[in-house]
């Protein structure tokens, strides 16, 4: 395996609003290896998209990355200048967004928007660029790519447009593809198609993918490993089977239990009581403790660190790390 492709260490991104400071991402640790697909799961508002935008350094006023490191291919992205980041965006790291219809500029043809990406990151002549666009559109399964590249985004269906966005993202041979809820806004049938597409493309382009979502079903289709986020922190981190079979964090367990199942008869849906905490000036201690069945005294006072509990399996919970371990780690 070697060096991980992406290594996020203690990332903190805050938003400075009039009402207070929103600690959207408050100490996140993530690792993605080459050729691996990592799923980032969590409820709406837990900070997943902010992590994605932070990696791309696309956080704008009133937000700011206030701490941590993002190591990519051996370099800390947070040290890079805007000009250097521009070369990386769309080139080495690219992103696919949730809503394809609003993510494409309506006044330019789809082909020209893809061509723009290619122009920015590759040395190619006009006709070469055109060929590349046709090629990449074909690869993502768009029929008659040569005609369709001259069409405008509103002439594409949602699924087709998402394919085109993926095409745009992969057009410059990105090493890391960040997909922020790419299938959430699509029909279930289209969802399946897009996931299949991503599986195929991942092999063909040998790209790593950071797949962000809230649907564990979608995540399970594609991911090798999963990181679970809650209220701005990663609270569990393991490979796919482990997460589903041996989830240790109470939140992860609750999440898994709340997936409706067709094979078991139940009367009531499992619901996690309470609501996600406001990220403005969060209370001390574990962010999940107000809703946790197993909360003990220390949970409301200290923030549990991410501790290894098995082979590549880490959890941030005081059920698995004691005060001694806490002190040990703080040494």
């Amino acid at each position: 395996m070697g060096e991980p492709l992406l290594n996020i260490n203690d990332l903190k991104t805050y938003f400075f609003l009039a009402e207070g400071v929103v600690k959207a991402v408050d100490g996140v640790h993530l690792k993605i290896n080459r050729g691996e697909v990592l799923g980032l799961v969590g409820e709406s508002g837990c900070g997943k998209s902010t992590v994605a935008l932070s990696i791309m350094k696309l956080i704008r006023y009133p937000g700011r990355i206030v701490g941590g490191e993002i190591w990519f291919e051996g370099e800390n992205l947070l040290d890079k200048s805007e000009g250097e980041m521009r070369k990386i965006r769309g080139g080495k790291i690219s992103m696919v967004f949730q809503n394809p219809t609003s993510s494409m500029n309506p006044v330019f043809t789809v082909g020209s928007q893809i061509a723009e990406a290619i122009e920015l990151h590759q040395d190619a002549q006009k006709h070469e660029i055109e060929e590349k666009v046709v090629e990449i559109l074909g690869k993502v399964g768009i029929p008659s790519p040569r005609q369709r590249m001259k069409d405008y985004p509103h002439e594409y269906s949602g699924g087709m447009l998402q394919r085109a966005m993926i095409a745009m993202a992969l057009s410059c041979n990105a090493k890391l593809l960040i997909a922020d809820e790419p299938t959430t806004n699509l029909d279930v049938t289209i969802q399946a198609q897009i996931l299949e597409l991503m599986k195929t493309l991942r092999k063909e382009f040998d790209a790593s993918i950071l797949l962000i979502g809230h649907d564990l079903g979608v995540i399970s289709e594609l991911c090798d490993r999963v990181a679970v986020m809650y209220a701005g922190k990663v609270i569990e981190h393991a490979d796919l089977t482990t997460i589903f079979k041996e989830a240790k964090h109470p939140y992860t367990q609750a999440l898994l239990e709340s997936i409706p199942r067709l094979d078991i008869e139940t009367e009531w849906l499992h619901v996690i009581p309470g609501t996600v905490p406001r990220l403005i000036d969060p209370p001390p201690g574990c962010r999940f403790h107000p809703r946790c069945e197993y909360a003990k005294g220390i949970c409301s006072k200290e923030d549990p660190p991410l501790t290894e509990v098995g082979q590549l399996h880490s959890v941030a919970c005081f059920l698995y790390s004691s005060i001694e371990k806490l002190n040990h780690q703080h040494r």
């Binding site: 309506p106 330019f108 990406a117 405008y152 002439e155």
Partner: protein
């Protein structure tokens, strides 16, 4: 549908709209009670038989709907009638004055559009900055200022007190040696009226450009562009502006209504012999055929301008044709 189909469709719609306008103009003019002829006669006492004769000759004794149809058929043949007071054909009087108004409006438009777009983009990109606040406040003040008051104040300051610009008129009353000098003098006279005319529209357009740009900069596709590695300047001027200017095109269609309205009073104050000035003159004398003729011409101008704006919009927004 193709652009051609769209244009043809819009042209066809023009016809019933024109008829509608003609009805509105006719109704407005005949809204007032009383005899339209009284203006023509003035205070002179006319014997009833003569009055009756003239009334019959002009067809004013017929019921209103008939009068309307008669007038309409005249208009469609291009006959705008004769002015009561000067006895000259209305068309001629209008034609002579069109260029003056046109040049005034053109200069004002160019100035207004350029200023509004430049300032609007800057204000939006630097939202909440001092520049933004200053421009927005300036726009609000400009929007609230009555144009004829501003015109008079400018004349007071720049013509009477400072003497930098002529107060009224389209050119000085002297003979020039070269056409170049004459042109310069004319432009010298054009500055103040064009400035006042442009000011109000600039204020209005600025707010539109700014809010449109702000709206566009919030869109997802702007984030996508940045995520592709596009330079921020290109993001603003290529990706954002193109979209932000779409509503501006539509509003520019409305600008002719605004400009013509403004021209009325500005031409009057500056004694600029154009259509607006003409309208005031014939309205004061209740020269009713001239009034009907001028209204029709102006309505036509507005219709054509709106059509051009619609077509221009259809050209720049690829979504609109596919209805």
């Amino acid at each position: 549908m193709t652009l051609r189909t769209y244009v043809i469709r819009r042209l066809i719609v023009l016809i019933p709209t024109f008829f509608l306008i003609s009805i509105i103009i006719f109704v407005l003019i005949h809204l007032a009670p009383g005899d339209p002829l009284s203006a023509m006669f003035g205070p002179r006492v006319i014997p009833p038989e003569v009055r009756e004769q003239i009334t019959k000759k002009m067809g004013l004794d017929k019921p209103l709907p008939v009068q309307y149809l008669v007038w309409l058929s005249q208009i469609l043949r291009g006959d705008l009638g004769y002015s009561y007071l000067s006895k000259r054909p209305v068309i001629e009087m209008i034609a002579v004055r069109i260029p003056s108004t046109l040049e005034l409006m053109l200069l004002a438009e160019i100035a207004a559009v350029t200023t509004a777009i430049v300032l609007g983009v800057i204000a939006a990109v630097k939202e909440y900055s001092l520049v933004d606040a200053a421009c927005s406040l300036g726009a609000l003040i400009g929007y609230s200022t009555p144009n004829f008051w501003m015109a008079l104040l400018l004349i007071l300051v720049f013509a009477f007190w400072l003497g930098w610009f002529p107060a009224v008129g389209m050119h000085a009353d002297i003979k020039f040696d070269t056409p170049f000098e004459a042109l310069f003098d004319h432009l010298h006279h054009l500055v103040l009226p064009a400035f006042v005319l442009a000011f109000g529209w600039t204020a209005y357009l600025f707010r539109l450009v700014r809010s449109s740009m702000l709206e566009v900069l919030r869109q997802d596709y702007i984030t996508t562009a940045r995520a592709k590695g596009v330079k921020e300047r290109v993001v603003i001027y290529k990706h954002a502006l193109r979209n932000a200017l779409l509503p501006v095109v539509t509003y520019e269609g409305y600008s002719i209504g605004f400009m013509l309205g403004g021209a009325v009073v500005i031409e009057e104050v500056f004694n600029w012999l154009g259509l607006g000035n003409f309208m005031v003159q014939i309205a004061r004398t209740r020269d009713y055929p001239a009034l009907m003729g001028l209204s029709t011409i102006i309505a036509l101008m507005v219709l054509i301008a709106n059509l051009c704006a619609d077509i221009a919009y259809a050209i720049v927004d690829p979504r609109i044709r596919y209805e």
